[in-house]
């Protein structure tokens, strides 16, 4: 097992280097970082030249890559266009995004496993059709539209309803932002403020993730249900419920584990839209703003952080798979 992990770790190093080259090439090909300055008539030529020099744009591409790569290895992501440290921004934003992603992923996982198993055990019954149809529906729904619908129906109307019910003038569920700015109040007040802001974005991401996972879990459970060892366990007289959970579910969860691990790496990029809709200032918001401003260092740092997250997630998925399914290790 240790050999497996070490070998797998060593493979990730060249992958990381290759993806840093690719990221650098794509960002350099994605446009002229000086265009916003050039378009502004109030900016003098000397200021443009100074910016070009500070971004190393007067040097050839390989040299620029070498400088950027050397700094990156030392943990220096460079500064953004306003001179602020990119690394600090990235990690501050990461905290906000992780808060959003973690809860929604756990929620989606629990729902997806329950629904997938139910649909598989009751294949071709009403509950299977309901699960399958909602899965298809959420896969086919644009996230930002669903979020808009949630805002309108699950927040504004619900808040109004609760207000008229309790004769209050406050909001229970927030539609904008990750927290109330300058919130003054007790510890519990703070927690409920966070929770109120998290409800809608969490639901939105969870719904879409649930859709994909429940289909996956259903397929893997169906495969396990038709296997011989399940029939054997049943034939030996074990109660059906026990066969289902101890023998069936444990095996059927293995494929999903890896999907979940990979998805956690991907979702940092996937939260872009949700953060935009709900006006959260997380990583997704950062990349959109950076792309609009042609902020090269932020884009590079962001993409590298995300690539590292995906590579690590893949690594974790592989190791988990090898741990859970010993057949993988032998090869």
């Amino acid at each position: 097992m240790l050999v497996f992990i070490v070998r797998r770790l060593l493979i990730s190093i060249p992958v990381l280097i290759a993806s840093s080259v690719l990221v650098f090439l794509m960002v350099s090909a994605s446009g002229d970082p000086l265009a916003p300055l050039r378009a502004n008539p109030n900016v003098s030529q000397s200021a443009i030249d100074a910016r070009r020099h500070s971004l190393n744009l007067d040097k050839p591409l390989p040299q620029r890559f070498a400088i950027w790569g050397a700094n990156l290895v030392q943990g220096d992501f460079g500064d953004d266009l306003n001179g602020r440290d990119v690394r600090q921004q990235l990690f501050a934003r990461l905290g906000v995004t992780v808060r959003l992603v973690l809860v929604s992923q756990i929620l989606a996982l629990v729902l997806a496993v329950a629904a997938g198993v139910l649909a598989a055990v009751r294949q071709y019954t009403f509950s299977d059709y309901v699960v399958t149809f909602t899965g298809f529906l959420f896969i086919s729904t644009p996230l930002f539209w669903f979020a808009g619908v949630l805002k309108e129906w699950a927040a504004i109307r619900l808040n109004n309803g609760l207000d008229s019910l309790f004769h209050t003038e406050r909001r229970y569920i927030y539609t904008v932002g990750d927290k109330t700015p300058d919130f003054e109040g007790s510890f519990w007040g703070r927690i409920s403020d966070y929770a109120g802001h998290m409800v809608l974005p969490t639901l939105a991401i969870a719904a879409v993730t649930y859709a994909a996972w429940s289909r996956f879990q259903r397929a893997s459970m169906l495969e396990v249900l038709s296997s011989d060892y399940m029939r054997l366990a049943r034939a030996k007289g074990l109660p059906w419920r026990r066969v289902l959970i101890r023998h069936g579910l444990r095996t059927a969860l293995i494929p999903l584990t890896t999907v979940v691990a990979i998805n956690v790496g991907l979702i940092i990029g996937g939260a872009v839209i949700t953060e935009r809709v709900f006006n959260w200032h997380g990583l997704g918001d950062l990349i959109v703003t950076a792309a609009n401003n042609r902020d090269v260092n932020v884009m590079l740092g962001w993409l590298m952080l995300s690539a590292v997250a995906i590579i690590v997630a893949n690594l974790v998925a592989d190791i988990l798979y090898a741990y859970l399914d010993p057949r993988i290790r032998r090869t």
Binding site: V15, A18, S19, L22, V23, M26, V27, A29, S30, G31, Q123, Y124, F136, L137, I139, S140, T141, P142, L143, F144, W145, G148, V149, K151, E152, I156, L222, L225, S226, L266, I268, G269, G270, V272, I273, R276, I287, V288, A291, N292, R294, M299, W302, L303, S306, A307, I310, I311, N314
Partner: protein
């Protein structure tokens, strides 16, 4: 009640005139692979229903604008911000834009982009997957490492970074989406090719002196067509959602033009005052993506009936 077909069973003289015995007994009709697949597909009610709805949506989005009295970009200044009515079935915007005219134009763009993505993405994935799976060795290694590399990059963020550069209009948007979408599909095609190339009929073809190109085009491609078609339908569904997401973030279709995603994005600020402009484009996206997904599911079952077996 005796119908014409029953009559044939009870009258013994006629079948004996028609050649050999066993054929008459079982009346087995030879069917080609295509006929089998089509029969199975058309037995799938949900998929057939989806196909009908999708074809209607396709025709409406590609041709509908010609037959509607209001044109995109020509506002009706007499009715501003009107809810749906007989005159404007989907209401109007704050400048008097007709909702239906906007929707038809947006659907046209979204559909064009998605169809183009589907063609480009499927063609690239098939080519790469076929070459990698058939030739194996270093060709396979190089191509699949490239695919692995593309998969380590965050899709949507890269779309944003690349799309901020693209000035080529909707074709450029389609290009960017297809560029980032072909990698997983090519893996699937490669997998099918890897297993098919070991089959006896390929060996037979090679023994008869067939060249690589002929084996790929005449033997392997037709047999992996099922997987390729299913992937193409799924590519269409993801493309329509990707286009919507890009346009929503402002990196897709640009201002004088519109698309379904852009329509939703534009209407977002006024969900309270003009909800009709917000809800209809979203419903159309869902309808397109949902029907395409159902069609893909039906096709998958039709091409590979082993996946639908009922538990014993």
């Amino acid at each position: 009640m005796v119908t014409a077909s029953d009559e044939r069973l009870v009258t013994p003289e006629r079948p004996t005139q028609m050649g050999t015995g066993p054929e008459r007994e079982f009346t087995v009709k030879a069917r080609t692979q295509t006929q089998l697949v089509l029969r199975r597909f058309f037995a799938h009610k949900l998929a057939v229903g989806s196909l009908v709805v999708f074809v209607v949506l396709l025709v409406l989005s590609l041709l509908g604008q010609r037959f509607w009295k209001y044109k995109y970009g020509v506002p009706d200044t007499n009715s501003l911000s009107q809810p749906p009515s007989g005159e404007h079935p989907l209401g109007t915007g704050d400048l008097g834009e007709d909702g239906l005219a906007q929707l038809l134009r947006g659907a046209q763009r979204s559909m064009q982009i998605s169809l183009l993505v589907m063609v480009m993405q499927t063609a690239t994935a098939t080519l790469v997957g076929a070459v990698a799976g058939y030739f194996r060795g270093w060709v396979d290694a190089v191509l699949m490492r490239l695919v692995d590399l593309l998969l380590t990059l965050p899709g949507l963020a890269l779309l944003i970074v690349l799309a901020s550069r693209i000035q080529a209009g909707w074709i450029g948007v389609a290009f960017v989406i297809a560029f980032l979408g072909w990698a997983p599909d090519s893996r699937v095609v490669r997998g099918v090719f890897l297993s098919l190339r070991e089959k006896e009929y390929v060996e037979a073809a090679r023994a008869l002196g067939a060249r690589d190109r002929r084996i790929i085009v005449r033997h392997l491609l037709p047999n992996s067509l099922g997987v390729i078609i299913v992937n193409a339908t799924l590519a269409l569904a993801t493309a329509i959602l990707a286009e919507a997401a890009l346009s929503y973030l402002g990196f897709g279709v640009q201002a004088p033009e519109t698309s379904l995603g852009k329509l939703i994005s534009d209407a977002q600020g006024a969900v309270d005052t003009r909800p009709w402009l917000f809800y209809f484009p979203g419903v159309v996206i869902i309808l397109i993506a949902l029907t395409v997904n159902f069609i893909g599911d039906g096709l998958r079952d039709a091409f590979d009936p082993t996946q639908t077996r009922v538990r014993a």
